[in-house]
Amino acid sequence: MTSSSLPSEHRLTGTVSAGVASLSGDFSVWTLARAKQLIGDARQIDLAGLTRFDTAAALLLLSLQDQGVTLQGLAPTHERLLEAVRKSVPTPDPAKPVLRGLRALLDNTGRRVVRALRFLTELAEYLGRFLAALARSIRHPSEFPLIPLVHHCQETGLRAVPIVALMSFLIGVVLAFQGAVQLHEFGAEVFVVDLISISIIRELGVLLTAIIVAGRTASALTASIGSMKMREEIDAMRTLGIDPDMRLVLPRILALLITLPILTVIANAAGLLGGAIMSWVELGISPSMFRYRMIAETDVDNVIAGLSKAPVFALIIGVIGCHAGMKVGKDAESLGAQTSTAVVNAIFLVIIADALFSIFFAEVGI
């Protein structure tokens, strides 16, 4: 009940005379505020008329006793409760000193930096574990988890084709349209072909694919590994001599490594198709013209630059997803939290890696 009217059975009455407060009725958690009011600053409390007395009331009386108030007329059962409460009043652990101002700032910053560094070293550890598992499966091909690999290729690759293709197609359309509007000002409509082909092949195809895959697959990886972690299946695997890195991590990351470049190629094709159709409709650039200009103007370096990012992005997504899954604790709460941080981290790191690639390619001149 949220209204402040008490249920009628919780009734406490009292009188104060000559410094003695006499209470009768229900002295419980429900009437605590009223009891305080009635007692006021009486130095003596008479409790002979109580019909109900609970731990909340006992706690209040104990604190009053500490202030020197004396009690009288307490029934034996109530006395017993009072003693039981006295025995179990918790003693707080000594509080940790709280830092303030500059020191708190430094303390916080330090912790965050350490946490971020630890996160990165853990990612490196998972990358290492993946590579070790890969090396081991090359040395012992019979241990290679082929069936899980195929399964995960289907999940992360095949199932993602429609969304990746559609999105990339639409991006091609948008680019053609926006490019046409801008380039029309200079009468240079035909350069829209360069715009579309270079931006899609070099940047957008692979980046958008990676972002979609990060959203789809990083969360799926975390959820699947995390729920196994939650039910102690991973510990069970270890005790049975099954290496979770081989069974869980290797096929998942390898599937990403295989499918992300393929998805990128599909995305590139769909994007170019969208761009070509839009250029034809909007600018009258015929498909053969589009093809001619694209081949003439777009260096194969662009394709290499674009596709070479795909495996790196795949590793980032896979390692982050698996790492977050292994970090899940025993409750559903942490599963949800890890899943969303995995997606955010994967997308964030993919974009950072893309920026680093741009700088790198600019420096080496590709």
Binding site: M1, L6, L32, A84, D331, E333
Partner: protein, 265 residues
């Protein structure tokens, strides 16, 4: 004192065509600890859930503290529900809240209770349930099974109930932990004047704390009585239960029924 705080009469519960209870009668007297035993799937948990109003009986009557929960208006029902506490099998703690907040949750129903008082009360209940101070800030997922049960008990005790329902409080605890829990239940009963409805499989618990035992079998309460009464019954299942090797072991080691005045902190 033999006032009945729970009276079950002619209870019938069904799930589809599966009848769990058929004409079940049971009483819980004020101030006693009643142990309810029975094989797996005989409907002990279902009985508990029916008494506290989580399941609707197909027929029969359940009266708790003299009131029939089915016929009460919602506010009266809420008021009645505050007069009992339930500890579910695995604690059933709210996973998004820490232990203190879990215990504070029922206290939030009390108007005019300031946050500091609520906190102090919650911490008192946590300590009464035998948890150390530092458990207050822990999340349920960071607790062991036994600690979760204690936290569930603390929450059940939050509003100083008159009746405490416990579903297998000692299942999955180590013998020492189970022993401590048995003692805790008796102590709390004495201190807080509780009536306890205790579902259990643990013969030691039956020995250590139950005043009376009710045996559930064949869809009804087959027998009620003290441990000594149970040993005389020659229904095959009851005989097997109370004379099996485990029962004998529990009898001979005989954790005393009189709880030593524990200094449980």
């Amino acid at each position: 004192m033999s006032e009945n705080v729970v009276e079950v009469r002619g209870l019938v519960t069904r799930f589809g065509s599966h009848t769990v209870h058929d004409g079940l009668d049971l009483d819980l007297k004020r101030g006693e600890i009643l142990g309810v035993v029975g094989g797996s799937g005989t409907g002990k948990s279902v009985l508990l859930r029916t008494i506290v109003g989580l399941l609707k009986p197909a027929a029969g009557q359940v009266r708790v503290l003299g009131q029939d929960i089915e016929t009460l208006s919602p506010p009266a029902r809420e008021a009645l529900e505050r007069r009992w506490g339930v500890m579910f099998q695995d604690g059933a703690l709210f996973s998004a809240l820490n232990v203190r907040e879990n215990v504070e949750a029922p206290l939030r129903a009390v108007p005019d209770l300031g946050p500091e008082q609520r906190r102090a009360l919650a911490e008192l209940k946590v300590s009464m349930a035998g948890l150390p101070w530092n458990a207050n800030d822990k999340m349920p997922s960071d607790l062991s099974g036994g600690m979760r049960k204690r936290a569930g008990l603390a929450r059940a005790l939050a509003l100083d109930p008159e009746i405490l329902f416990l579903d297998e409080p000692t299942a999955g605890l180590d013998p020492i932990g189970a022993d401590a829990f048995d003692r805790l239940i008796v102590e709390l009963r004495d201190a807080l004047d509780l009536s306890v409805f205790l579902v259990t499989h643990d013969l030691d618990t039956l020995h250590a704390c139950c005043d009376r035992i009710a045996v559930l079998a064949e869809r009804k309460v087959l027998a009620t009585g003290t441990m000594a009464d149970m040993l005389k019954i020659d229904h095959p299942w009851v005989h097997e239960y109370f004379h099996g090797p485990r029962a004998r072991a529990a009898l001979t080691t005989g954790r005393s029924k009189e709880s030593p005045d524990g200094n449980q902190g």
